[in-house]
Amino acid sequence: MPFLEESYDVVVVGAGHAGCEAALACARLGLETIIFTVSMDSVALMPCNPNVGGSSKGHLVRELDALGGEMGKNIDKTYLQSKMLNRSKGPAVHSLRAQADKAEYSRKMRMVLEDTEHLTLRQAEVCEILAEDVDGSKKVTGVKITSGATFYAKAVILCTGTYLKARCIYGDVSTPTGPNGLMAATKLTDSLISLGIEVRRFKTGTPARIDKRSIDFSVMEEQKGDEEIVPFSFTNKAEDIEREQISCWLTYTNEETHKIIKDNIDRSPLFSGAIEGTGPRYCPSIEDKVVKFPDKERHQVFIEPEGEYTNEMYIGGMSSSLPEDVQYAMYRSVKGLENAKIVRNAYAIEYDCINALQLKPSLEFKKVSGLFSGGQFNGSSGYEEAAAQGLMAGINAARKIQGKEAIVLDRSQGYIGVLIDDLVTKETFEPYRMMTSRAEYRLLLRQDNADIRLSKIGYEVGLIDQERYEKVVRKEEIINQEIERLENTKVGANAKVQAFLESVGSATLKTASTLADLARRPELSYEIIQDIDEEREEFEKEIIEQIDIHLKYNGYIERQKSQVNKFKVMESRAIPEDIDYNEVNSLRKEARQKLESIRPINIGQASRISGVSPADISMLLVYLEAHK
């Protein structure tokens, strides 16, 4: 007998990285929110790698923080080691990565959830999405859990991660569980299908965890964190979160490892066909790597701590779905792992997810009003990608209820914009991972300026308070004023300046030069020239960094800015939601079908759909103008 338990504004299904951000955003915006998890022990669980950030993923977390998300703050509380990757490269690809204490990360996030007003945590499996027909289209009304209890809601956000009909596989062992042996959610898929949502199957995998005491670290290379760390959250200063960092370790596979794998390749469920889901090419299992790159004599293996108070070590680079006995042999062939004791096996996991082309850029389903989704369920991979979508889905669900326009970040505003635009515009055939090369304006979308780029939006949405926002505004003003001063301050070819230039190995001046031009010289920088800059004030490290980047890469930055201006014009041409593509003359058939199914919100998005040509866009523009 079904009974009504309660009514909420928002129901969030799943309490992983997407679900937590979604629920926090809604609750913080004042909406009564309930978040369901199949297990209270799996809140903000990190079932795979023990770190947050990394190339381009670090960007996502910084942006999420600037918008008022939680991931950055939480990893700052629970990191074991912090590194800025690509420091020797350009500022656009500097990327933060921190090793996380998994248990702590999960515990601290759960505390935040529990301490948030308007937010209820509930352990239960959601098995049905309730919807009603309104004027021929569907509108979500709530969810039903296994007990039969019904929870009414104005919006539902699906963040089911890898739990839907999950199956874990290694060798010929296959268990119907979610990650880490947690209960899978078996019923929801059918409910989604009956709502007209198309479901697909993806797979991913994770390596074994090995007991620290069985590892010989003395033969491995130590990988330490940075001495000077950068916090993920713009609200933290480095000195507030400094700690003694814990090292990772580097070792390598060898020919014996590869031989073991090759000899047993027929026992892999990937090669026997037992796994049907599509796996990601960017994090291949070790058997994939050995088969695909037979010429490589060795592959790197990173041994990373799972937490401060556990002996479990993550064996990065060696995910696998080979049988347990082969796993043992394979891991033990690696230098330093000769006596390895496995705590948890490596396994592959298959799960149901959706093709995100069914979503609007607001992450709401086109077919079901009020139903949103985020995270791995949308066909992405990675904690950071999940969290970013969760935040946006949460913000947009809340805004929909409040009768406000959706917030859609475009590709020039952030990696989050690129991520979501890619997901809802371009079909992906494998779990989608963020990469810096996907961001066409990456020189503008740096991790160091995420606050300047996005705090305004976070503030307007209501997730960033006024004080924090005003600080960012001031920071930006200072940077602009200082750059202007440098561009307009000339130094003459006087003895002091020449002596200084000689002392730093830079060519002496023939005529006067601006300070900005001097700072731009490859061998100089804003910091170096302070000796000849008489009016120089003292600024914070973050501000100095911004000024230096602006001066040094000005040409490139300006070029990208002018590209963005052109891009914005395309993005600003909205396409009405109710457009009938059959009425647009002369569209090619393929273009018509694609436009009909994806239903882009503006001309820019339409132009990025594969199979839609510039000529088709012209047709569309003319049609829109004619039917204004």
């Binding site: 690509n86 690809v93 090419r281 960017y282 790197q300 490139y556 049609y623």
Partner: protein, 459 residues
Amino acid sequence: MFLNDTIASIATAMTNSGIGIIRVSGPESISIVDKIFVAKNRNKKLADRNTYTAHYGFIYDGEEMVDECVVLLMKAPNSYTKEDVVEIDCHGGVMVMKKVLELVIRNGARPAEPGEFTKRAFLNGRIDLSQAESVMDIIHSKNEFALKSSLKQLRGSLKEEITGLRKNILHEIAFIESALDDPEHISLDGYADNLKVVVTEELKRIEKMLESTDNGRILKEGIKTAIIGKPNAGKSTLLNSILGEERAIVTEIAGTTRDTLEEAVSIHGIPLNIIDTAGIRSTEDVVEKIGVNKAKEMAKDADLVLYVIDASKELDEDDKNIMELLKEKKVIALMNKMDLDTVISKEDIRVFSDMAVVEISAKHNDGMQELYDLLKDMFFDGNFSFNDEIYITNMRHKTALLNAKDNLLQVLTSIENEMPEDFYSIDLMAAYEELGYIIGESLGEDLVNEIFSSFCMGK
């Protein structure tokens, strides 16, 4: 594709009919023309001038004067497109028009797509609703044509060359990007030196292609010219004579028929694509018939026919047949072998046809100048339907090559200045995209695919 950049094209037909107009439209049109236009006796810039004014002066390419011209200024919104529009009326004929357009493009405009001015006029509310449908038809058909012709016109060898270039560039981008995405697995130490070698090599190849575009030969854009005649009339000798005259011969292109060869030459700046049927001579009994059939086939396609007649022999049935089927074509009849004892005269030919006749000896290069002068007159009288769509395509290709070249030069500069590697990648990507325009391919998922297939990423 962008909506609000500055576009340019030749607005008049591509013939030497008096004045040719280069039209420039968009927010930067005035500043672009200001860079190349110098008004006579005045120093004032166009930017400081009023709308609806005409200015007499000169177009300069750096120090070199290209043409005298009149520039018409129409400021937004009072123009056809409702954008700032500048029209350059030049006088110097097709080659000068091309040159001026190139200058405009080099200074920041983009070659307009077919129908793009009209499209803008409509989108900016300049022309009304009733015209919308026809605008769409124009754009559609022109685009279809441009797409087809650009790919068809692209020589096989050129496509291969571009594809090869792009493949190399993509590989380098993928390497840099995989190292950026996975710095702990893939190192870029010492990479700049390798890249320098690759980029220098690529630049040489682009340079070579650019040389050929300067001679108007990136596309088979010339006037399709068929040499027709009976065996031993001297067709090949004529071809050799023309080719000998014009040294800039392009590589041979295999035509659709096995033994048809096509040569692109430029005679006094007039681009010709000459088709010769090499095989006719070698066949035996059915020679005459084949010759006529071949002539028929070739004449159908050609813009211009050079009909070679052996003046030392009497005209026969075949000649009459040939002349009959050339009735509707632009033809120059060439009475060849005038150095031998001739048995026919111009009048004999005029009995059958009113085609222009030139007496030559291909063997001794006699009368060739007369032929070329006639050719020039016909061209400048607008006798040939010179295909401006194809010209625009060619222009676009050249622009793409020039841009790709600039991008690669920038990579070398970045290496020189010891910029971080991700900057190389930005310019390499730009070059890759530019070259892609030529063969109609975009970056899309190419990069991601290349990264995953060529480099082992960890996790």
